[in-house]
């Protein structure tokens, strides 16, 4: 009997190699952590999350408190100064983390959830009427211009709150992801383990969610991070266009206010730079994390 090792490739196939020392297949989180970029991303994200969670402790004032003098220069009392309404910019920046992370998380979840359900069912029932209908709806959702749709959705609601924003973002962005998931499931569907499950008599739902999905984890995870990233950017964009939630303080609404008040002309640079940078750094961190997740699904990239 020859000694050998079972090496596992990412997609579940196995092969026996003779005369090789046993190597533990790395767990997915180890793979992600191994990537330098992903590590940086995770650390940065952790910082943002901590800031969001402990915002009341970190921020010196209530972000909506407007009884300060306007346009104060940065000082010990106001690290980034005050804006034209008299809010403390630093407090707004800190509390804005909450909104951006929350919208990112929920928006990403909603978008991914819809995409997952639609994509999985469409992909699994490929070629049938169900697939045709779902693909049709997906294409339609991709094709309709986002701006008018966003404006209509937002203006139709009497009350503008975060749930509305999350809803709008979810509706606008699920279609792109759905397509990707559909393609992925089509490739997986024809694999042996699925055929085996079918022969064993498993129902479609069981096959889809018990057999196929676990193999799609990395794609779904990457998709979720991507969707969350998109949601954060979309919230900023929506707020900048004036469609955001005027009752909440987010980086997008800060930029919107700054622009309305002509911050460039008034020379209020900190007010403009701070939220933009905060946004960019967070999104960059998420993209880096996605690099790491890509490694899990795409082993060829792993030698980085």
């Amino acid at each position: 009997m020859t000694t050998g090792t079972t090496a596992t490739r990412g997609d579940g196939d196995t092969a026996t190699v003779e005369g090789v020392e046993p190597v533990e297949s790395p767990r997915w989180y180890a793979i992600v952590w191994r990537s330098g970029k992903a590590r940086v991303g995770i650390v940065i994200l952790a910082v943002y999350v901590l800031v969001a969670v402990f915002a009341p402790l970190i921020a010196p004032y209530d972000p909506t408190r407007s009884d300060f003098d306007q346009l104060l220069e940065p000082s010990a009392d106001h690290w980034l100064g005050t804006n034209t309404t008299g809010n403390d910019i630093f407090s707004q920046l800190i509390y804005g983390t909450r909104v951006s992370l929350l919208v990112g998380l929920l928006g990403g979840l909603l978008s991914t959830a819809i995409a997952l359900v639609v994509g999985l069912i469409a992909g699994y029932t490929e070629g049938t009427l169900i697939d045709e209908v779902l693909s049709f709806v997906t294409n339609l959702a991709i094709v309709v211009p986002a701006l008018p749709l966003m404006i209509v959705l937002v203006s139709y609601s009497e009350v503008r709150g975060l749930p509305l924003i999350v809803f709008v973002i979810g509706i606008i962005s699920w279609a792109g992801h759905a397509r990707a998931k559909r393609s992925q499931i089509i490739t997986l569907r024809n694999r042996d383990f699925v055929t085996a499950a079918k022969f064993a008599g498993d129902s479609m739902w069981r096959i889809v969610f018990r057999e196929i999905m676990p193999n799609m984890i990395s794609l779904v995870a990457a998709g979720f991070v991507g969707a969350a990233t998109g949601a954060i950017g979309a919230e900023a964009g929506l707020s900048f266009l004036g469609l955001g939630d005027p009752g909440s303080v987010s980086w997008g609404t800060m930029l919107y206010q700054a622009q309305l008040q002509g911050a460039e002309a008034q020379g209020l640079w900190l007010w403009l730079l701070a939220p933009g940078l905060a946004l960019s750094i967070l999104i960059t961190a998420l993209v880096f994390i996605n690099f790491g997740i890509d490694l899990v699904g795409n082993p060829h990239l792993r030698d980085d």
């Binding site: 693909s135 964009g237 930029l255 960019s280 960059t284 993209v287 795409n298």
Partner: protein, 332 residues
């Protein structure tokens, strides 16, 4: 063959559904075009003002009230669409929607089209080099740099560029697609147009290529690990040849369809950029149409956008069918 037929079928069905949505969506928005128009004229965009009822009445008489039920209006809309009549714009009454769009379309096509193609070329090239020189410093810089640049909010970068290069340094004009020249095929106009478009194009070129860079790099890395590459190397083919003719070419495939799709999307216009630079393109027109509840104009703009994306989709799918035989087989 079936592959292509299916694609065309999808195209037509989606087009019809999108046209219907384009009719419905603008009408869902609350707000009366006549009142909005009069308020804008009275306050010149600064918010509240006296709404003179006599003026509102006259404006309503001018814009006309649609006759018939919603269904009858819809049928009328489809009929006009088939005849190529897009109606008269409310905002630019009495000019037709076609005339109005005709003004804005070339600007968007040129700015967005050129920057998309350039971004593609730059991005794909950088991505290919980065993949070929994996883990080198070049690779790190390109990947990290383009990632970060791609996350910068476009409107934010536009504001900064405008202030820095436009007002402070005075290198570039700060508004408009052109200034004093008479539009037409003359040197003065073309020079002015180019000069005015450099700043907006710069903003785009800074933030757009990122997608291409990363996509190309990752696909190519994946390809480089494939067996046929190993075989080519084993055969002793020069690295450069392998990179260009095999890896890059195959990695280009998904990117090309991506290019087709993004080109289709340019009809939606670049609203934030155009607003920042006072650039007379489709994005700005759409924002005006939305805020004025200009149904005829908005419907047609949305139509352009939809058709652009659908046609691009179709072309991309067809291209994929032509370029990648596996796709055709899978559908047969």
């Amino acid at each position: 063959m079936r592959y292509f037929a299916r694609r065309i079928g999808f195209f037509i069905a989606t087009l019809w559904a999108a046209i219907t949505l384009n009719f419905v969506i603008p009408r869902l928005q609350p707000g009366d075009p006549a009142e909005i128009m009069v308020r804008k004229l009275a306050s010149r965009g600064t918010g509240d003002a006296e709404l003179d009822p006599a003026k509102v009445r006259a404006m309503r008489a001018m814009l006309g009230t649609p006759e018939g039920s919603l269904w009858e209006q819809y049928v009328e809309y489809l009929r006009n669409l088939a005849r190529g009549e897009f109606g008269i714009s409310f905002t630019y009454y009495p000019f037709t929607v076609s005339e109005v769009i005709g003004q804005a379309l070339p600007w968007t096509l040129v700015l967005a089209g050129v920057t998309q193609v350039l971004s593609f070329l730059v991005g794909v090239t950088l991505g290919a080099f980065a993949a070929w020189r994996r883990n080198s410093r070049f690779d790190s810089i390109v990947t990290l740099g383009s990632t970060f640049l791609g996350t910068l909010p476009q409107f934010w970068v536009a504001l900064l560029f405008l202030f820095l290069f436009g007002y402070t340094l005075g290198w570039f004009p700060t508004a408009g697609g052109y200034s004093e020249a008479m539009p037409g095929w003359n040197l003065e106009f073309i020079a002015e147009a180019i000069h005015h478009s450099i700043l907006p194009a710069a903003v785009l070129m800074l933030t757009v290529p990122t997608g291409w860079v990363l996509g190309m790099r990752n696909t190519m890395v994946m390809n480089l690990g494939e067996d046929y590459i190993r075989l080519a190397k084993a055969k002793g083919l020069p690295d450069r040849l392998i990179a260009l003719r095999y890896a890059a070419r195959n990695a280009l495939l998904p990117s090309i369809t991506g290019l087709a799709l993004s080109l289709g999307g340019i009809f939606g216009g670049l609203i934030l950029i155009e607003q920042a630079f006072d650039y007379p393109g489709m994005g700005r027109l759409m924002a005006e149409a939305v805020s004025n509840r200009d149904f005829p104009l908005l419907q047609t703009l949305m139509l352009f956008s939809v058709v652009g994306v659908l046609v691009a989709n179709l072309i991309a799918d067809m291209l994929y069918g032509v370029l990648d035989p596996r796709a055709r087989k899978a559908q047969a």
